[in-house]
Symmetry: C2
DNA sequence: AACTGTTTGTTGATAAACCAACACTGTGTT
DNA sequence: AACACAGTGTTGGTTTATCAACAAACAGTT
């Protein structure tokens, strides 16, 4: 049996365990899901579960890894076959996500945001909404994406900075974030950040 | 393991083989369906098929038997639990059929009607339609059922008579069929048929 | 602390499915 | 008639899943 050809039974077992976990995650958070439940829903013996996975964390990780590997392979294949610019590539990738919507929604909802992080995000969002004057002609949904982009980007950059020990001084970080917000990558004068 | 508790793998194998056969029967006649195809669609090894069934005929027969057994059990259970008259029982049975519509349509379509039989039916149907004056108030669909009932009944009775060696003389058969059409079972004077 | 119920993780014997291979049959083509 | 191809039915060794059972851990209740 070649390494590419997985035994049908294994293939089936893994598929139904994965699907069952995803279905359960629609109804409850990951921390509430038990191995017993997954197996009942999959109609698979518990000892079989343990033959494949150490625990439900490993099953989840496997599912996530599949997505990541799909993405990698997808991007690699795409790069090699067609010489398109970055915009088209982004479109294709988004289409791929769209195709995987049901699964991704579930997976992206698993890792719970810290309640503090959510608060930060909410405060920032309220502040932006109250202070920015948005053109009446700007599409509502688009402005929602815009603010989400800015806030998520900022929060994440701040998180990295905090977790990295705050090596850069605050004013430097402020400059960086502000420029990215206003001008994006190409509009930022990187000479400002030697 | 009690006789009631079927091994999960067996249960699964039989289910997917059954489903696969039914799906294939949606697309082609039974005579065109191969064991190889059923197994490919079910993603089950061919030797496994043969471990369960002698051939595709036995698989089909098994599916039909399940329906029949369901019907029997259904009717038995119903009879024991509630003392309703025949009309309500018929209603319940029809509801059961309705619930099994997808499967029954496929199964009832399997045994191909002979082309001759179809011709007979079509000729009779045309004749009835052209000669009978149906009240304008009669529901269209109901009159279709009526003619189908009469024709199917007649054709089947004739078939039995022919296959049985035509023991009864033609005029006797004509009388029987005619009376059944016009008066049904209770309206027929059975003294006419000693 | 003791108790109860549920879930976990593991075990070994058994059952079922898989896999590749083989010889044979039937069909269509040359 | 010979050939090629697809499908059939079978085989034996291997792999995987099942099953019931067990001891331990965990969570909630008293």
């Amino acid at each position: 049996m070649t390494s590419e050809k997985l035994d049908r039974r294994k293939k089936y077992t893994r598929m139904v365990l994965k699907d069952s976990l995803l279905q359960l995650l629609k109804q409850k958070s990951f921390s509430q899901v038990t191995v017993k439940e997954i197996c009942e829903r999959a109609d698979i013996n518990r000892s079989t579960f343990y033959a494949h996975y150490r625990d439900q964390f490993e099953l989840l990780e496997t599912i996530e890894d599949e997505i990541v590997m799909d993405m990698k392979q997808y991007m690699n294949t795409y790069n090699l076959q067609e010489k398109e610019d970055a915009l088209k590539m982004t479109e294709k990738l988004i289409s791929y996500f769209a195709a995987k919507q049901e699964e991704l929604i579930i997976l992206l909802n698993v890792s719970d945001e810290t309640s503090f992080e959510r608060k930060v995000r909410e405060v920032a969002q309220a502040s932006i909404r109250s202070e920015w004057i948005i053109s009446e002609q700007t599409d509502q949904q688009l402005s929602s994406y815009l603010t989400a982009f800015i806030i998520s980007g900022s929060v994440h950059v701040l998180k990295m900075w905090l977790l990295g020990g705050m090596e850069e001084p605050p004013h430097k970080m402020a400059k960086l974030i502000n420029n990215l917000i206003n001008h994006g990558i190409y509009g930022t004068d990187w000479e400002m950040f030697p």
